[in-house]
Assembly symmetry: C2
Homo-oligomer: 352 residues x 2
């Protein structure tokens, strides 16, 4: 897209904090339901030379369990799942999440990956790593799988419950930069989540955002409906965090409901149906696994000065490993630098 | 629930406009993609003595095609699908939709059923049939099927894009009255659509509505997430029309995506999988048909003085027939009268 300046053309990494490829990636060893086992196992799934890993967590617990070449950064404190994000970040400087974010802020590593609390990561990310100039609020993107292959990136899926039009424009821009820099989509098509595609549809926020996006240099394709997220009408779909969260959880809910219905119908049916189900199971499993959001592995919080990748709380080793790969791609694509340049172009223009 | 007064206890119909059972039901013969054939076919699917039907549409086209005992009300004008609702209602008094609503308003029939434009039905309903005292805005409910059986009624799924807290409280009350009077659910559990169930979650609208619902006499069970709509946590889930529309269309989108994935995986798989799929097909079809929203047949616009039932635009004969049955249940349950009493109790109290 025209917005992008050539910060890291062709995937050549530039400006690595610690210098030289492969990048240094800090991983929260204690984040997520499967920690630390899932994280330790994830490390073994990665190519040894893809990155230089630092596991952040209680050294006493981790030191004897990491493979050679993986560093351990001691962070003995633990954030409880129920703890309020702001409080956790303020009062637990030696938790793995806060320690990892500080390492990133101080340039000791090039990216940070965590399956810990989304709230704490957002608060800590904004507080410690800082927002890019021109970003009012970091956003949480969500990749939605399409049956035809690929993903639609929805921004925001829950970081920002109340938004103004200019926030949505920033989400659109950050989503487009990410889709181009990491997923390699040229001039990503940006859609606005709406109740219909006719002119004048939507709530006040959406109608005003529509006007702003039309004037922006983004490849804006207009309003799209929630069902279009699963089609191929747009690469990036922008919405406030409340609507995005409804979309995300509705999708999870329906996918679970369909699996439950299939289980009931196929398991309790007459013998030929049950035999058929047994034979068809591998196909069913493949089909439904495409709807499993955890397979994507992790998404970066958009709008921070350096890459912070959030993995699903229930991530297994494969998901954590995929999250680390996402972090490496963010470093390789110089995502924050590209966003900074694009935001500067945007706010220097009529949208500021 | 305590809110209900005994307007029509035990299903005994009272206050029928034209007197006596069965009720008079007007049906828009020209509404929906399948009109008028689907409507004519629907008439044949109904028990002859369930209601006294009036088909509203061009008499010249309908007269020779209706079964004996079914009246035709001439309405030769047609509303185009793309026509703006307010304009259509104002400029086409002899369209089937406007004529049917006028018959209802003037007491010639007890309910009106249409698969025509939702927008025109909402505008026309408010303008011609009128809102119940205490209702700021009529709402469109959406029944979401649960794998475990039954439905969760979501209010609003698209009639009101921008809402205030008091509107959501009215939606909650109307949904609860409907669930009790028509679906026979005693003290329906009302949930508030939110991004999480922890206190303080949500956008400003939801946080304020939460406080109002806690103080209301409704059986409020707190915040629910979009995925819970497919579980059994609440009978009625309340949200603004934008969020509800996202929920509805996300559900449609995922259901379609899953079907598409299954088709690809099962159709293109190795022979045993394809044979299995063939055997399992009846079970699959049953499972997926439970996710088909059109099967519900129709929903009443909540908050009007008399029952107006909206059927899906792509309704087939069975769906239209189910919509007519819904209208009969609304008359039998004296839904508008019950709502009026409940709203009066609500607005007479601390929430006014």
């Amino acid at each position: 897209m025209g917005l992008l300046v050539d910060v890291a053309d062709g995937g050549t990494p530039v400006q690595l904090t610690k210098g030289g490829w492969p990048p240094h990636i800090a991983v929260d060893a204690m984040g997520g339901d499967g920690a630390p086992e899932a994280v330790l196992e994830a490390v073994r799934l990665l190519d040894a030379d893809c990155c230089r890993l630092v596991l952040v967590g209680p050294a006493a617990q981790l030191r004897d369990r990491v493979p050679p070449g993986v560093r351990v950064e001691d962070a003995p404190e633990v954030i409880d799942p129920g703890e309020r994000p702001v409080r956790a970040v303020r009062t637990k400087p030696d938790s793995s999440l806060v320690r990892g974010l500080k390492m990133l802020a101080e340039g000791e590593v090039d990216a940070f990956v965590s399956a810990g609390s989304t709230g704490a990561l957002l608060v800590g990310g904004a507080l410690l790593v800082g927002r890019l100039p021109g970003v009012d609020r970091p956003a949480l993107p969500g990749p939605f799988p399409r049956p035809s292959g690929g993903f639609t990136l929805v921004v925001d899926v829950g970081a920002n419950a109340d938004c103004r039009p200019r926030h949505l424009v920033q989400f659109a821009l950050m989503g487009a930069v990410y889709a181009e820099a990491v997923d390699g989509i040229s001039r990503p098509r940006v859609g606005l989540l709406n109740m219909g595609t006719e002119a004048g549809k939507g709530n006040q926020l959406v109608r005003e955002t529509h006007r702003l996006l039309e004037q922006s240099p983004l490849n804006f394709v207009g309003s799209v409906e929630a069902r279009d997220v699963f089609g191929g009408l747009a690469d990036v779909v922008v919405c406030d965090g409340f609507a995005g969260n409804v979309l995300l959880k509705a999708a999870e809910g329906v996918a679970m409901a369909v699996m439950e219905l299939l289980r009931r119908e196929l398991g309790g049916g007459p013998l030929p149906v049950r035999v058929g189900a047994l034979l068809a199971r591998s196909g069913l499993r493949r089909a439904l696994s495409r709807m499993d959001y955890r397979d994507y592995g992790g998404v970066p919080l958009l709008g921070l000065n350096r890459p912070v990748v959030k993995c699903h709380g229930s991530s297994d080793a494969r998901a954590i490993a995929n999250g680390i790969r996402t972090a490496i791609r963010c470093v390789r694509g110089a995502v924050p630098d590209r966003m900074k340049a694009a935001l500067s172009e945007l706010t220097g223009g009529k949208l500021s």
